[in-house]
Amino acid sequence: MTLASEVTGTGTAVPGAGHLPYANGASAAGVGGGAGGPGRRPPRHDPSSQRTPRRTPRRPATLTAEDWGYALASAVSSLSLCWLAFSVLTDGIGWFGFWLVAYLVFLGMLFVATYQRLGRLAAVDRVMTVVVWSVMGVVLVPLVWLVVYILVKGLPGLSLGFFTHTQRGVTPTQPATAGGGLHAIVGTVEQVGIALLISLPLGAMTAVFLNETRSSLRRPVRIFVDAMSGMPSVVSGLFIYATLIIPLAKDNALFGYNGFMAALALSVTMMPTICRAIEVVLRLVPAGLREAGLALGASRARVVWSVVLPTASSGVATAAILGIAREAGETAPLLFTAFGYNLMNANPFSGPQESLPLFIWRFIREPSAVEITRGFTGALVLMALILLLFAAARVLGRDRTKARHRRPSLAGLLPGRPPARPIAGVEDNAA
């Protein structure tokens, strides 16, 4: 970031010395004010430079060796101060608290040191730069840590049998590798699959409604979709429980605790996610393609079906995969609907069914260490599944961005042809 940020001192820069900020060692400390405004501190006068004031251009965004030195010194002194405060003078604060306090003290010291040297503006700039850089790191650390932790805790219980066995005949005293989670994997696949079957058409239709029609209802529908996507997932489970299971379960096994009810609850939370992701993609389809289709006399339905959707197809696929990844880990809606079951139940339409999140949820609440390890193994498998889905979505997304410089092909306009080229610059809307 050196863009246009060269600040020249008030005097005239000496040609030749211009790009050597500290060419004249003696005047280095006084040159400019950095970002702190030139002239804040008068330059130290060097007898040899009386006639031409030595003012050299300085790039405030460039860090010099001196800057690094000050930062390092601040870090060291902050660490020693915290060590003194927490290990010698008072009882311990734990590593978490130690680093938290040390970091804050470091920021304070860096500010004071830079303030003394370059002035307030430069000091604020340095401190905020450090803050922004470190915040990014601090946010990524838990992600890595979580993945590693679940890997370490879950691996001891993982064996090939996890994918081929259920919990049939497994007692709490057997080692964690006994039995497996096949029934949970089957349940997750069935429930999420049914949920996708329901919510993908509905979500895609709603996205088309929002983006391709001129209905006056679009505004309220958009508001409701937004509101629905923020609805806590436990409420959707409660909703299916209140609407179908309580009133109807007595007469009809289809509305008892089973995988289908879980799929319905999942689709309530999945639909808005998919709808909004698809809408983002539809918005990126060039208007020219639509207009060309209409100008050729195609009906609006035809244009959507043969032009818009094929053009956006890879984006729609990404939306679906991200929706699956999101729903595969949802636990709360299942508590009231699928209920959980220790044995295989491959029929989603009758009887309680297990799924990976429920498997984890039930085992980690058990008191025995072996059961908890089983739960962690389930968590490991779930995490691997989600990472795989996420990677698949990214790969699809990358293919689209590689096509950035191609022009949309006219082949997509003709009905019955393979989908047009992926569209450019689509960003995933995973949040």
Binding site: S5, A35, T90, D91, I93, G94, F96, G97, D125, T129, V132, V135, M136, V139, L146, Y149, I150, T206, F209, L210, E212, T213, S215, L217, P220, V221, I223, V225, D226, A227, S229, G230, M231, S233, V234, V235, L238, F239, A242, T243, I246, V268, P272, R276, L294, R300, R302, V304, A325, G329, A332, L335, F336, I360, A379, L382, M383, I386, F390, A431
Partner: protein, 333 residues
């Protein structure tokens, strides 16, 4: 232009002025009519669905609403099964708000910082990958965060809580009962929830920050601003709507966070300023905790309705703020 428009020129009859109006007929084909109806139908499904969610929660909780009335909102005790049932959501509501508040205090600055980093500070080549990592963080299921927080992070935070309460215990917020357990506290639950809020705030603030007009940024730099000066003078004001809206959306997520909080708090209604000590519960976590207990169903439904209305209101305000701000018009939440 609601349908395919078939232009029918009136025909080049002689003597007519050149500016003759072209009559444009709008003919709707059967496919078009079906298309209109089908898309409208799915749109209406959404409207109906959300309304029905609220209505059924209200209907199934009617036993509680009729016996408790508005007192449901002002009662802390939760005794659904005794002969004189006394249930109220206030204790849980308090916990919900406290956990969300702690999560927001941590996550909003962190999320804005991450958004700023990806939009402005990060090396150009790394930006896409970093945004991918933030998206991945958003995709980690709540139950995994709960596992990690409960079995691992909790032990790491307890010494900090102990130090705070020993040395700063005179401040009410850091006070605890004598010999109190410091695990499963609002503080710890808030920290874990904040990890789930950060990606939401980060994605939305990044989306508004990257839209800052380059001319305004360069103008600030050309006037001699440092990079942070430019950020503060140009990017932060420009992205204000996105930052506020993103924080509100994160708040909605924090209020509705279920599984992780259910693991991390004992889930008993509790009102206390001792945030560092064991105790408390949130509405969503409490509902998950009591799932399968048929005695409490009406009161759980009533509590669910309160949570539904609370998150709905938060999210509506959030999307309104984002949509109305200067930067947020084209931003997808």
């Amino acid at each position: 232009m609601t349908t395919s428009a078939v232009a029918r020129p009136p025909g080049p009859s002689a003597g007519e002025p050149a500016r003759a109006r072209r009559v444009v007929h709008a003919e709707r084909s059967r496919a078009d009519r079906f298309f209109d109806r089908a898309t409208l139908g799915s749109g209406i499904t959404v409207l109906v669905l959300l309304t029905v969610v609220g209505l059924f929660l209200l209907w199934q909780g009617r036993a509680t609403w009729s016996s408790m009335g508005a007192r449901f909102l002002t009662t802390t005790t939760w005794r659904p099964s005794s002969t004189s049932p006394e249930v109220g959501v206030l204790g849980l509501l308090y916990g919900t708000v406290v956990v969300a508040l702690i999560a927001e205090v941590i996550a909003v600055p962190a999320g804005i910082g991450v958004g700023l980093y990806i939009a402005e500070f990060a090396p150009l080549g790394a930006r896409k990958m970093l945004q991918g990592l933030v998206d991945l963080l958003a995709a980690v299921p709540s139950i995994l965060f709960g596992l990690w927080g409960f079995f691992f992070l909790q032990e790491q935070i307890v010494p900090l809580s102990r130090w705070l309460t020993t040395h700063l215990g005179r401040i009410p917020l850091f006070a605890t009962d004598r010999d109190a357990q410091l695990t499963s506290s609002f503080f710890i639950a808030g920290i874990v929830v904040s990890l789930m809020v950060v990606p939401i705030v980060a994605s939305i603030s990044r989306a508004v920050f990257v839209q800052t007009p380059p001319g305004e940024k360069e103008g600030a730099l050309a006037l001699g601003a440092s990079r942070w000066g430019m950020v503060r003078a140009v990017m932060l004001p420009y992205g204000r709507g996105g930052m506020i809206g993103g924080s509100m959306l994160g708040l909605g997520r924090a209020l509705g966070e279920t599984i992780a909080v259910s693991l991390l708090l004992p889930q008993v209604p509790w009102i206390s300023s001792h945030w560092l000590q064991n105790g408390g519960g949130t509405i969503a976590g409490f509902i998950a905790d009591r799932a399968g207990n048929s005695l409490t169903v009406p009161s759980l439904m009533a509590a669910g309705l309160v949570l539904f209305v609370l998150t709905l209101a938060t999210n509506l305000v959030a999307s309104t703020i984002v949509a109305r701000s200067r930067s947020g018009a084209g931003v997808d939440l």
